[in-house]
């Protein structure tokens, strides 16, 4: 079995807070070809009404750390070398900006076995320092079985 089906419903403890820094926002934006000035220029971001540099829409993947959490969980029994990213969704309640301190909390919402493979769906909910929901990253991972 490529995944322990018993992890369905498992809720992991919150990850240590992630401090969103300006240079990381700029670096990530450059890496995904995001050229809008609100990712790079603090004055432009403020002129547009944001508190600081705005992170690109897929930035929660950096904070959510879903894959790392699952791989490091011995109970899940997932072999990193067999994992393929199947689906990804981001639900963004508000923009992530530099200066945010985000806490990710991962829940395994589904484990399905299809053929010899397993599909694990996990949701990482990000909250800010005030405990307000900022974004949710939903990842489906395909774990290939023994062929």
């Amino acid at each position: 079995m490529a995944v322990n089906p018993g992890i369905e419903g498992k809720r992991y403890p919150p990850a240590p807070p992630y401090a969103v820094g300006r240079e990381k926002v700029r670096e990530f934006a450059r890496a995904v070809f995001a050229t809008s000035p609100i990712h790079h220029d603090v004055e432009a971001a403020r002129a547009a009404g944001y508190a600081d540099l705005v992170a690109p829409p897929t930035f929660p993947i950096v904070v959510g750390a879903a894959l790392e959490t699952l791989i490091e969980d011995p109970e899940a029994g997932i072999d990193f070398g067999r994992v393929v990213h199947g689906d990804q969704r981001f639900v963004l309640a508000r923009p992530i900006v530099a200066g945010d301190e985000l806490t990710a909390r991962l829940t395994v919402t589904a484990v399905r076995v299809v053929g010899g493979n397993a599909m694990v769906t996990a949701e990482s909910a990000l909250t800010d320092a005030d405990g307000e929901h900022v974004a949710t990253s939903i990842s489906s991972l395909v774990v290939r079985g023994d062929s």
Partner: protein
């Protein structure tokens, strides 16, 4: 240069003139190995199948692949440009990774993105992306929800 002299963002699209099926943006991106290494560093995803052919082949892949999250991350950018650069108007974004993007060491890979209005409602629009590389669709069900003023 005064910051106030330069508008931070371009104009937003006028929703009243949009129709389902309108093509609103398109773009072509060249991914080479440097771009993959850059994304690895920026994202923290250091899986070696994204920079080492020998490791990729050892797990049965034809060669180095782009991070799916890199393809997803760049594919939304033409939509952000259409939004005048206001990336925060993207409120929901999903894709299915249907086919890997193989990045040749010398030639790289070309990723083509087309964005079409999929649906309109009171809050904004759903923009559907077609994302292709090497003649194949690489992202399926790629949908971006954007908030637009009525």
């Amino acid at each position: 240069m005064s910051a106030a002299a330069r508008p931070a963002l371009g104009p937003l699209p006028d929703r009243s003139v949009l129709s389902v099926g309108d093509e609103v943006a398109e773009a072509t991106f060249l991914l080479d190995r440097d771009k993959l290494v850059r994304y690895a560093g920026a994202s923290g995803d250091f899986n070696p199948i994204h920079y080492r052919d020998d490791v990729a082949r050892s797990v049965g892949l034809p060669g180095v692949l782009a991070h799916g999250m890199l393809t997803m991350g760049l594919a939304v950018q033409p939509v952000v440009d259409w939004l005048g650069g206001d990336a925060a108007r993207v409120v929901d974004y999903q894709v299915r990774f249907t086919r890997p993007v193989l990045v040749d060491a010398e030639l790289g890979a070309v990723v083509q993105v087309t964005a079409v209005v999929g649906a309109l409602d009171d809050d904004g629009a759903r923009i559907d992306l077609t994302v292709r590389s090497g003649g194949e669709t690489v992202l399926g069900k790629a949908q971006v929800r954007v908030a637009l003023p009525a």
